[in-house]
């Protein structure tokens, strides 16, 4: 069976945030909840890179392991989803996730966070596929329609890839081969010290 994964090509990401906007729009996400975000490292410096991060749909998901009510499940495609009806909004999945994928809609007294919301790989949730209930709670179910997540579809530079991990690996491998050693990258063609001299 396919194993669905995301892959963000840091060499292509231009921090346009189209993926963020597409996700927010398609899934009708409320204010304050950010399923996907673009993180830029070394902003303004040499070696600046941007990555689009949402749920990584880990094989051994720490969120699923730590949940006190066991509300997570993994589909046959390897997509990690959760059941909002069982979620108690304790926040443990957010503490455990290395990528900060779980989000909470409320910030009320006594840590009332509301139900956890996260990237679903556009695969909805445990409700009936493409029902209005499912859309209200989890957003669009594109996988059930045979499509791929909208963030990857909307990526302007095709930095963000989503799909079967074998296919993604193939695409990325071809890219790496075609790039070779980039003649314009500092560390490869030029010695930094000699340049200034």
């Amino acid at each position: 069976m396919a194993r669905m994964k995301f892959y963000c090509d840091a060499e292509r990401c231009i921090e346009c945030n189209a993926c963020v906007t597409a996700c927010k729009n398609e899934n009708d996400i409320p204010w304050g909840v950010n399923r996907r975000r673009v993180v830029t490292i070394k902003d303004g410096e040499q070696g600046e890179r941007s990555l689009s991060v949402a749920c990584m749909h880990c094989s051994d998901a720490p969120c699923a392991a730590v949940c006190p009510v066991d509300c997570f499940y993994t589909t046959g495609d390897g997509i990690v989803l959760h059941d909002k009806d069982i979620c108690i909004g304790c926040g443990y999945c957010f503490y455990a996730c290395p990528f900060g994928a779980p989000q909470f809609p409320e910030e009320a007294a006594f840590a009332s966070r509301g139900k956890m919301d996260k990237c679903t790989f556009c695969a909805g949730g445990p409700e009936v596929d493409n029902s209005s209930d499912e859309f209200k709670k989890y957003g669009r179910n594109r996988i059930a329609e045979g499509k791929l997540p909208l963030c990857a579809e909307m990526c302007s530079t095709k930095a963000l890839l989503a799909g079967d991990s074998d296919v993604l690996s193939d695409i990325y491998r071809k890219r790496v081969i075609n790039r070779g050693a980039s003649a314009f990258d500092w560390g490869v063609s030029f010695d930094k010290a000699k340049l200034s001299g």
């Binding site: 006190p68 926040g91 996730c97 990528f99």
Partner: protein, 348 residues
């Protein structure tokens, strides 16, 4: 002639090679890596623990952090330590006390109870104690539901029913937590002076508190064991309360690392208090003859005081605070016959 020409040509050729070797630039230094940004990604992967902070146009708590390596560590720690061992620890304490009761039995009073009572705890102190105790037990139970409910209770109730129980536990746990802190601070104020360690406490400890053997051990208003339990409750209780306050108010922008540490401290403190409180509950109920009356009516038998807190007994006699059984019955609002006064003293 030909050989000479040949040799000359050879020399000229060699000279050319020589010239060529002198002009050639030194070979370029070896290239480090052809993967752009290898050093950057090594830092991002954080195998050596450094957290790389970036920026994100999406604003929120920790949104600039690309990878939080502590998160998985915390999750694994929680699953492999408190969740795995908390039930074992609690059941072990219960079994040990059961064994102790079976072997040693109830610690009796020489000469039995007299029926003459002395006031030990005022109404306010008793109400404070029971408030703290009941709130603590409630917090312990709801906390345990959240900690070990998944492996122990989901198989019994199913996911939906357990989710409702867990949600109710979480909300009420968060609500009663601050009440625990308030009661704890009031307890600190009420009892701190009587719990300061003094001369005679070390002797009490070295003599094993009278648990081993039948020797008489001297004690003040509170003996060393009680004082130690008090300070354990205050200190560990404060630690639990403060970490609990951090956990219950995520709106101050604490990151995941602080939450993880607070949670670990909170759970470990709670397990310690739960374990030792079982011992306290044992001592205050069936462990010693005459002790339970202290928190029921506030009065204790004078023989019990002589046996366990003789330094305080001296004070009671000096200040003439001992009341008769009839007086005690009158205070309880009943006659002596129907009063809940135990008088097992043989010489009467």
């Amino acid at each position: 002639m030909r050989i000479q020409t040949l040799l000359l040509l050879l020399c000229l050729a060699l000279l050319q090679f020589q010239a060529y070797a002198a002009d050639r630039p030194p070979p370029a230094p070896g290239m480090v890596s052809t993967v752009p940004g290898a050093d950057l990604w090594r830092e991002v992967r954080q195998r050596d623990g450094m957290i790389i902070d970036g920026i994100s146009q999406v604003k929120g708590v920790d949104t600039g952090v690309l990878i939080n390596a502590q998160g998985d560590k915390w999750a694994r720690f929680r699953i492999n330590n408190p969740v795995k061992h908390a039930p074992t620890v609690i059941i072990a304490v219960v079994l040990v006390l059961l064994l102790f009761y079976v072997i040693r039995g109830k610690v009796g009073i020489e000469g039995g109870l007299s029926g003459r009572m002395v006031l030990r705890f005022t109404d306010f102190e008793r109400i404070l104690h029971w408030t703290l105790a009941i709130v603590f037990l409630f917090l312990a139970i709801t906390g345990l539901v959240l900690l070990v409910g998944r492996p122990l209770l989901i198989p019994l109730f199913g996911k939906s029913a357990f989710s409702m129980l867990a949600s109710a536990s979480k909300e009420s746990h968060n609500l009663f937590g601050p009440i625990f802190l308030v009661s704890l601070l009031m307890m600190l104020y009420s009892f701190a002076r009587r719990n300061i360690y003094e001369k005679g406490d070390l002797t009490w400890l070295l003599k094993g508190g009278g648990f081993i053997g039948k020797g008489h051990v001297s004690g003040g208003f509170f003996n060393m064991g009680e004082k130690s339990w008090y300070w354990l409750v205050i200190l560990v209780g404060l630690v639990i309360s403060i970490s609990g306050l951090i956990l219950v108010s995520p709106n101050f922008g604490q990151g995941r690392v602080i939450m993880g540490i607070s949670h670990v401290v909170h759970v470990l403190g709670a397990i310690i208090l739960m374990a030792v409180s079982i011992g306290h509950m044992y001592m205050g109920s069936i462990g010693t003859e005459g002790s339970s009356e202290a928190m029921k009516s506030g009065y204790v038998d004078i023989n019990w005081v002589e046996a366990h807190h003789d330094r305080w007994a001296k004070e009671c006699h000096q200040k003439d605070q001992v009341i008769s059984a009839e007086e005690f019955a009158r205070l309880q609002g009943t006659s002596l016959d129907r009063a809940n006064v135990e008088a097992t003293e043989q010489a009467k």
